[in-house]
Symmetry: C2
Subunit: 200 residues, 2 copies
Amino acid sequence: MAENPVDTRFELQRDRVLKAAAHCFNEKGFSGTSLKDVAALLGLTDAALYYYVKNKEELVYLCYLRAADVGREAMQQAVNEELNGFATIKRYLELHIGLMVGDHGPVAILSEIPSLKPRHREEVLRLSRQHSRRFEEILERGIADGSICDCDVRMTGNAIMGSLNWIPKWFHGDAKTAARLQREFPDILCRGLVAERAEQ
Amino acid sequence: MAENPVDTRFELQRDRVLKAAAHCFNEKGFSGTSLKDVAALLGLTDAALYYYVKNKEELVYLCYLRAADVGREAMQQAVNEELNGFATIKRYLELHIGLMVGDHGPVAILSEIPSLKPRHREEVLRLSRQHSRRFEEILERGIADGSICDCDVRMTGNAIMGSLNWIPKWFHGDAKTAARLQREFPDILCRGLVAERAEQ
DNA sequence: GCATTATTTTAATCGGCATTAAAATTTATT
DNA sequence: AATAAATTTTAATGCCGATTAAAATAATGC
């Protein structure tokens, strides 16, 4: 995602706005954060936000797009490394977690999709489904190349993505856990995928 | 959870209210559901809800308590069966998922804890931590009795509970998936825990 | 320095939704 | 049937927070 050199000033501020919003949503909950809260975090006035977004609905929408971007980015990068299925999954998890807890800043994982306007909702859901499908494809590839045990890719995908998406609920930015998270969590999440397993 | 034979009428209606609220929160998002929505689902008027709850904040609080109850119930039952660590975890997952997708009705997993009033927030967080701790204790027991591989119980707990809590985000009540969910998901979630594993 | 554009603020407006009080209706008790 | 208690509705009220328009300030190009 090398960014267009054009528009940088505006785009950069807008991105700070989204980051601040995501942070608030994570920390104070959605209904608990007013635009004033978000603005305050940037040393601005609530009205100033309207220079960057059309309204609150769009703000939420853009937060979701940003979250989708982070996920897509991580997956693309992992796929590019051309590893086997299992290793690709693990690498993707490392990268995605890294972006989530790292400098890419807070990514809103909130439950407000239903209150988006139809056009935006469809788009967000489309991206979400696309991401899931790609994840499942990697699982299938892993099963084919023998690196991943035979499993229901839909369910398994939901399981792993669930753990991943839940992270913001319990991780709140301490550097200590961030490091361990990035180091150990991917392994935990894909342990259940290893091809050669003892029977239970 | 045998319920007090006293108060049944009132308590039963109140429980229907909570169920309806949880359903709305899951389907329409929190900010997207007004008390009128919840009431409509019961064929009531918004004002009527105030006969059962003091205000919206309390409604949310009670939804959380109800969710906590479901989890605690499932865990207690699993523990009572006196299996080894691994089997207890798996049994707990079966039971909890069964309650989540079954007749116990929708359980709100929402992100509005921060907007609860302090006293209620503390209480909900206390219950949540308690549940996590008990889960981790079972993991530890499993490691001790050799049924679970050596792992970081904190992280592993977060991983599994994340998958579990995420279910309402993608499961929307079709009986078909409900059955498969209950049957196959527990195994998927605890596959990574088996003691004798091949090295990756 | 001047004019134009970008950014933020001040100061209102506006509507939706939670909340309440009192009235109406339904249910229970004897 | 009569009275009391429980449950729900009608009809306001009030407030918070999103939104807007116009003014003010800051940045930029010439």
